[in-house]
């Protein structure tokens, strides 16, 4: 009755088809406005123009995308690392949590776009200021979600582990860490898209390579078709990263699928 293939097909019809149709309608309307309305290309390029821009500049965009992605990955790596260790230390020593937690929260009101130029002044035009900005952006959601995950552990479970003679490290490894994975991945999904946007923003400010630099150049030459193309490319990159995070989550939390299926019943 309900084979996996059938289920997949139904999934496509239910979830992917409706927004797909909407998107198609928007593209058709957009193309019609451009072809019939006599809108100048530098103000609103048609979907066809954007496709053309992709064709023409594909190699160049790919080169810049590689730079942006590299910055994103390095920034994510160090952002997760610092977020993780901060969360662990805040969880272990409540005095540290009391000292820095409110400050971390308040620091989030500082607009990252405003720090980016400062970072360029301090750290130059190379990759470093971009990576630092991503670390600053990613650090917060990761640290907070992990800390909440560690703290939401069931007290009785911890008592049970203690009655078995488990050490602090063992309790962390067998209870706290797996308990916080769900929250960690939820915030990682937000973080990856933040990271891409931060990389692009800091490339606007200064630099010679990356999608942000490419964007600044095409904007200055009023090549709106290329502008649209690069915006779409950035969105697609973020989507791919979010999807990769999802795949990683599935692989590292095999119990999650079953628990979710049970709660649906």
């Amino acid at each position: 009755m309900c084979s996996p293939l059938n289920e997949k097909l139904r999934n496509i019809i239910n979830k992917i088809l409706p927004p797909g149709v909407t998107l198609l309608l928007i593209f058709v309307a957009w193309q019609l406005v451009c072809s019939l309305g006599n809108v100048p290309k530098y103000m609103l390029p048609s979907p066809q123009d954007v496709l053309g821009a992709f064709q023409k500049d594909w190699q160049l965009m790919l080169h810049h995308a590689r730079v942006t992605l590299l910055e994103t990955f390095i920034g994510l790596f160090f952002g997760i690392l610092t977020g993780f260790f901060t969360a662990v230390i805040m969880d272990r020593f409540s005095i540290v949590r009391k000292m820095i937690y409110p400050l971390i929260v308040i620091s989030q009101t500082i607009p990252t776009v405003a720090i980016a130029p400062l970072l360029v002044i301090w750290l130059g035009y190379q990759m470093l200021p971009k990576i630092v900005l991503i670390v600053l952006v990613v650090f917060f959601p990761i640290a907070i979600s992990l800390l909440e995950g560690f703290a939401s552990v069931d007290a009785d479970t911890v008592n049970l582990m203690r009655s078995m003679g488990a050490s602090r490290l063992q309790i962390f490894r067998y209870v706290k860490l797996p308990n916080s994975l769900g929250q960690f991945f939820s915030s990682l999904k937000i973080s990856v898209s933040y990271a891409v946007v931060s990389a692009v923003v800091s490339e606007w400010i200064g630099g010679t390579e990356g999608l942000g630099c490419y964007m600044t150049r095409v904007r200055k030459s009023f090549s709106s078709d290329k502008m649209f193309a690069v915006i779409i490319l950035i969105s697609v990159l973020s989507l791919v990263l979010i999807w990769l995070t999802h795949v990683l989550q599935r692989a590292s939390m095999p119990w999650d699928k079953i628990n979710r299926k049970r709660s649906k019943l």
Binding site: D154, D156, T157, N159, L160, M161, R162, S163, M164, G165, A166, Q170, Y174, V175, P178, N179, L181, M253, W255, I258, N259, R262
Partner: protein, 245 residues
């Protein structure tokens, strides 16, 4: 020698009001002793002291004659809820106490695996706790308790969360398993029928601060006959307990 001896234990959380006062009890090897009392009477606190999670202000806990007062990791303890970790398969949950003691995962799994059939949960090894019924989860939790230590187990209302039918099925299963593995057990309950049905002796814990007020020996031989809980003797025990509580 007694498997477990609790001697004159007095305990308070704040050094002002005692929760337990001068509690003494003995558990012989292979015996199943029940601790019966009203909720909030200090039963669970007593278990926390025996298991070493809390250190008593006075008194001592002896395991096979050795003083283990305030030392956790010596006596197995099963709490009210099954407390299986949702992110570990049943076999990894059951093997966890041995892994904590430093055993290799593979070896711990193998040792745990030998007992699945005996506990009536064969075939659940690779499943996650969410896929099992409440009764099955409780069996797995008991096996984990047993894997931790085959000497003495403390069970804190292990069947209280189950529905009546599952509960009586679990009682039968429990007596059957206990008959095979001869685990010395102290069992908390507030269900008088359950206490009479399962145990060799019953301690009544009452008063404020909590102390042992009485001891009742159930002389019905084990394994218990299937209609024991409908017999005159059963009712007589029940009447005696109600009059003493």
């Amino acid at each position: 020698m007694a498997a477990l001896e609790v001697k004159n234990v007095t305990f308070s959380y704040d050094n002002l009001t005692n929760v337990l006062e001068n509690v003494s009890l003995t558990l012989h090897e292979g015996e199943l002793v029940c601790l019966l009392g009203v909720s909030g009477g200090g039963k669970t606190t007593l278990f926390n002291v025996i298991s070493g999670l809390n250190r008593p202000q006075q008194g001592s806990v002896l395991l096979n004659g050795r003083d283990v007062t305030g030392q956790s990791g010596k006596i197995s303890y099963m709490l009210q809820k099954d407390m299986l970790l949702p992110y570990r398969t049943i076999e990894d949950n059951v093997a966890l106490p041995m892994i904590i003691k430093g055993m290799k995962k593979k070896e711990a799994r193998k040792i745990a695996g030998e007992h699945f059939a005996q506990f009536g949960i064969d075939g659940t090894q690779k499943k996650y706790p969410a896929e099992l019924s409440g009764g099955m989860r409780q069996r797995a939790a008991l096996l984990r308790t047993y894997m931790f230590s085959a000497e003495v187990a403390l069970l804190d209302e292990p069947f209280s969360a189950l529905d009546t039918l599952t509960k009586s099925e679990m009682h039968r299963w429990y007596l059957d398993v206990m008959d095979k593995i001869k685990l010395s057990t102290i069992f908390i309950t507030h269900d008088i029928d359950e206490a009479i049905l399962l145990s060799d002796r019953i301690y009544l814990l009452g008063g404020k601060p909590g102390t042992i007020t009485d001891e009742i020996v159930i002389r019905e031989p084990k394994p218990r006959r299937s209609d024991f809980n409908l017999s005159q003797e059963f009712l007589a025990y029940k009447r005696e307990i109600i009059s003493k509580i």
